[in-house]
Symmetry: C2
Subunit: 203 residues, 2 copies
C-alpha cells in the first residue's frame, strides 16, 4: 500500500509516518518509484504499536525506540530486561534498600537490574512524604505483584518465537495501566462498600 | 525560616521555590519585611511533597496542582476521586467496555469515574497491539488490584482527619510505582526460576 493508505489504515497522519521513517522507528518500504514506496502489513502493525506506545502508554520517543529494540531481542529474558529498561527513570539512585526488600521477599534478580532503581525511587518517594511502608503492606503489594507476574510468565511459550517476545515485551508495558486502573476502581468500589456499611451501622 | 533556609532544608533551589509561590502551589510565608517572609514547617512539608510528586512520581505541574487540591478535600472519598483525576490521561474515550469489565468483576464505581477512562485506554492499548486479555487474566489482575486496594482502604482511619486524607491521596499516587517495580522484579525472579528449572529438566 502507499504511504497515504498506510496513514489511513493506522490513523497516523502522513507527516508523522514520514517522521517515524526518518527516525528509523519504522523500516523503509519497498521503493517502487523515485518518490514512492510500497508498505506491507508489517509496517501497519509496527505503526499501530508505535501509536499505542506513544498515545496510550504515554512513552517518549526514546522509550518507544527501546521497546521496539526489545521486540528484536532473540531471547525472552533479554527482551524483558530491555523493555523494563525502556520504562525506567533516568536518574541513578543507591539501591541498597531496594536490594534488601527483594532479599526479604526471597526473590532473585540481577543486582544491576534497572527495576531495582525503580523500586529504590518508589521507596524514596514514599519515605519523602512521610508515608510508612511496614512489612505487612510490603508483603501485600509483593504478593499481588507476584500473582500477576506469575500469570504473565506462565503464558510465555517455552520455545521463544518472535511472537512470544512481542507478547512479553508489549505485555510488560501495556498491562501496567490495566493494573493501575483496576487498583483505582477497586479503591472506589471497596471504600464505597466500607462507608456504606459504616453508615448503616451508625443508623 | 527564611526562603534560603527553606531551600536548603527541602533541596529545592530558591528560584524554584519562588516559582511555586508565584504559581500558588506553595502558600505565601508570613511577611516580616518589605522583601522578606518567614516560612514554617508546613511550607517545608508542602515543598517536600511537591518535589516528590514532580521528581519521583514524574507528575506535570497541572497534575501536582490537582493532587495538592485533593489534599484540601474535607472528605476522603472526594480526595481519592480528585487524586485519581490528577493521574488521568487527558483524552476522552468511550467506556462501555470498561464498564462491562467492572460489572463482570462485581465492583461498584461511579459511572463517570475517571478511572474508567484509564481502564478503557488500557483495554484499547492491549487490543490495539493484538494482545489478548481473556477472563482468567483479567481475574488475576483484578484479584491483585483488589488485594492491594483493600489493604490501602483498611488503613484509612474511620474519622477522616487532614492527615488521613494526605495519606490516602499520597498513597494512591506513590504506591503505584511500588507496585509496578515489584511486578517487574517478580517477572525477573519468577522467569529466572522457571528457566533454570527447565534447563535442569533438559540436562
Amino acid at each position: 500500500m502507499k504511504i497515504s493508505e498506510l496513514s489511513r489504515a493506522s490513523g497516523v497522519p502522513v507527516p508523522t509516518v514520514k517522521f517515524y521513517l526518518r527516525e528509523g522507528l519504522l523500516p523503509p518500504g519497498r521503493r517502487t518509484a523515485a518518490t514512492q514506496a510500497d508498505y506491507g502489513p508489517e509496517h501497519l502493525n509496527r505503526l499501530r504499536i508505535i501509536r499505542t506506545l506513544v498515545e496510550t502508554a504515554g512513552l517518549s520517543l526514546t522509550s518507544v525506540r527501546k521497546v521496539l529494540d526489545a521486540l528484536e531481542c532473540p531471547d525472552v529474558q533479554d527482551a524483558i530486561a530491555t523493555a523494563h529498561d525502556a520504562l525506567m527513570p533516568a536518574t541513578e539512585r543507591p539501591t541498597e534498600d531496594a536490594r534488601r526488600v527483594v532479599e526479604q521477599l526471597g526473590w532473585t534478580v540481577a543486582p544491576d537490574s534497572p527495576a531495582l532503581q525503580e523500586l529504590a525511587a518508589a521507596l524514596d518517594a514514599i519515605a519523602a512524604v512521610g508515608l510508612h511502608l511496614d512489612d505487612d503492606k510490603l508483603a501485600t503489594y509483593a504478593a499481588a505483584a507476584e500473582q500477576v507476574a506469575a500469570d504473565d510468565v506462565a503464558r510465555v511459550p517455552t520455545a521463544p518465537t518472535e511472537d512470544a517476545v512481542a507478547r512479553v515485551v508489549l505485555g510488560t508495558v501495556l498491562f501496567e495501566p490495566l493494573l493501575l486502573s483496576l487498583r483505582k476502581l477497586a479503591h472506589q468500589s471497596i471504600s464505597r462498600r466500607a462507608w456504606a456499611a459504616q453508615r448503616r451501622g451508625r443508623a
